[in-house]
């Protein structure tokens, strides 16, 4: 393992301290926690927006704190959900009297911890609502299992719910647009090489030199299949077709080409070029495109493609100003 760290057991604390220092005008850390909140929180009569999860997905989620997006992010250990006590502190810190909305990625740990925190907050008289993001089409959608994972599409849920909350909308309205976004968003990832958790010291899975995995999760969870590496165009075709087969995207869409942590932007743009061509051929109108690192998996090499079907309301919310450092509009 070769990493720029001080102590494998302190990476999260060190990172959080570094995220806040130099940015103290806009964000602050709640002392003795790994919760980061807007300095102006709680904002009176605005729905507070909280997300979070394991760390290792930066800029998710702390990079999305800002006016027009999240009010707080709860940072867990690497790839490990934060705990209910920390989430509860975030909820309390952003409750301005209009309730708090939680954006949760669909993993057993995240759902358990955020739900427990929501129960604790409700017991203290704070109104809490939530949405569970499950955009990963690589996983079978089944009510008998944990179901689909939440991946890069989560960032678009932050944006849309955040814009709605910033407009002064009620908790129910924020929930409505967040749910609409979750219904309309689909993603799928792929990887060329694995990632190494600092505390584990070795890669969490292995891929052969000329091998790739289609449908991989953002913690290296298995996807659909492993096969010989093919061209960027062929990868783009496979990923895009899987998204189009899962949901009817006719009309306007937003596209997100997301790097997994160790993919040069050059490669992301090569993928984007083909994705745009495929969508044009299918008469799907690309309203807005995002290319970059939004939801990473430490130093995994690979990318994910996200499509979000847009109506007028979602378009407007997507375009509204955000001053979150990782998603400036």
């Amino acid at each position: 393992m070769k990493k720029i760290i001080n102590d494998p057991n302190q990476v999260v604390q060190d990172m959080v301290a570094g995220m806040v220092s130099g940015f103290t005008k806009t964000i602050k850390q709640i002392p003795e926690t790994t919760v980061i909140v807007r300095t102006d929180a709680p904002i009176k009569r605005k729905v507070g927006l909280v997300s979070g999860g394991g760390s290792g997905h930066e800029p998710a989620h702390a990079g999305y704190i800002g006016k027009g997006m999240l009010d707080a992010a709860v940072v867990g250990e690497v790839f490990t959900s934060p705990t209910p006590d920390q989430i509860l502190k975030a909820i309390k810190a952003v409750d301005g009297g209009a309730g708090v909305f939680l954006v949760i990625k669909n993993y057993t740990g995240d759902v358990l911890n955020f739900e427990m925190a929501a129960e604790l907050a409700e017991a203290e008289g704070i109104q809490v609502e939530k949405v569970i993001v499950n955009d990963d089409v690589a996983v079978e959608d089944s009510s008998f299992t944990t179901g689909r994972r939440g991946i890069a599409g989560t960032v678009l849920v932050h944006k849309i719910a955040g814009a709605m909350a910033e407009s002064g909308a009620s908790l129910a309205e924020v929930k409505r647009v967040a749910e609409k976004t979750v219904q309309n968003v689909r993603s799928i990832g792929m990887a060329l090489s694995p990632c190494t958790l600092p505390a584990a010291g070795e890669p969490s899975f292995e891929l052969e030199e000329r091998e790739m995995e289609i449908g991989i999760g953002i913690h290296g969870e298995p996807g659909i299949e492993r096969k010989q590496l093919v061209s960027a165009d062929d990868i783009a075709v496979e990923l895009t077709n899987r998204l189009l087969a899962d949901f009817d995207f006719s009309g306007d869409v937003a596209v997100m080409i997301n790097g997994m942590g160790a993919t040069p932007e050059m490669e992301l743009y090569i993928v984007n070029q083909k994705v745009q061509t495929i969508l044009a051929e299918k008469d799907i109108n690309v309203y807005q495109t995002f290319v970059g690192e939004y939801m990473t998996a430490l130093e995994m090499a690979g990318c994910s493609v996200t499509l979000l079907g847009l109506d007028d309301e979602l378009k407007m919310l997507l375009e509204t100003a955000s001053d979150a450092p990782a998603f400036r509009v």
Binding site: G76, E77, T80, S81, T83, L112, N113, A200, S204
Partner: protein, 206 residues
């Protein structure tokens, strides 16, 4: 069997030793069908428990269990934190008012813990989760009339080994579908260590 405050503290100190000793092994199991952090998380959480318990003055076993629950919930993280937290919190409530805890009360506590964790994790027997160790252990306690250390270890160990043949439908291993078969469930393994520690503590006390 009588579980005293001191026994219960020893139980978790011993469980912590096992989590530390097997930290890498648990992480290796989790690497096969999860996200390679179960050993890291359990070792961190149980170390916190072991640091805390000897420094406190507990009036009852119930209080010990409650502190264990709250510490695990806030220090383990992931799914294991709230799941183990729920088990020991339910157990704490169930044994409240009896000190030392007798066999029947303890059995009842285990069963309440099992019911709680099934509800919290929305999991049942046969889904390749820690429920697959807790359920047979609860049955074993219910059939017995008093504590039998060797048989407890055997029951928990067999139950853990049996998770190898199950296809996971809950937890992160579920993403591996049929490929999850052939690997022991990491959560069942950490649960086995907890029962192994319990057996050792009770055996020593007799």
């Amino acid at each position: 069997m009588k579980l005293t405050v001191n026994n219960s503290i020893q139980w978790f100190l011993k469980a912590n030793e096992k989590m530390q000793e097997n930290k890498e092994y648990l992480t290796l199991l989790d690497k096969k069908i999860g996200d390679s952090d179960h050993g890291i998380n359990m070792a961190r959480g149980f170390q916190e428990v072991a640091n805390k318990l000897p420094t406190q003055d507990y009036a009852s076993v119930s209080d010990v269990l409650k502190d264990v629950a709250m510490t695990l919930m806030s220090k383990v993280g992931g799914a294991a934190g709230p799941l183990y937290g729920t088990i020991f919190l339910k157990m704490s409530t169930a044994v409240k008012g009896t000190d030392p805890v007798d066999y029947q009360t303890f059995t009842n506590g285990l069963e309440e813990g099992l019911v709680g964790v099934k509800q919290r994790g929305k999991a049942d027997v046969g889904e390749k989760t820690l429920v697959d160790v807790w359920a047979p252990v609860v049955d074993f306690f219910k059939q017995g009339v008093d504590f039998q250390a060797d048989q407890l270890v055997e029951t928990a160990e067999n139950a853990m080994d049996n998770t190898k043949d199950i296809q996971a439908s809950k937890g992160r291993a579920a993403y591996f579908k049929e490929k999850s078969i052939g690997h022991i469930d990491p959560g069942s393994t950490s649960s086995f260590y907890i029962f192994e520690a319990l057996a050792e503590v009770i055996r020593e006390g007799e």
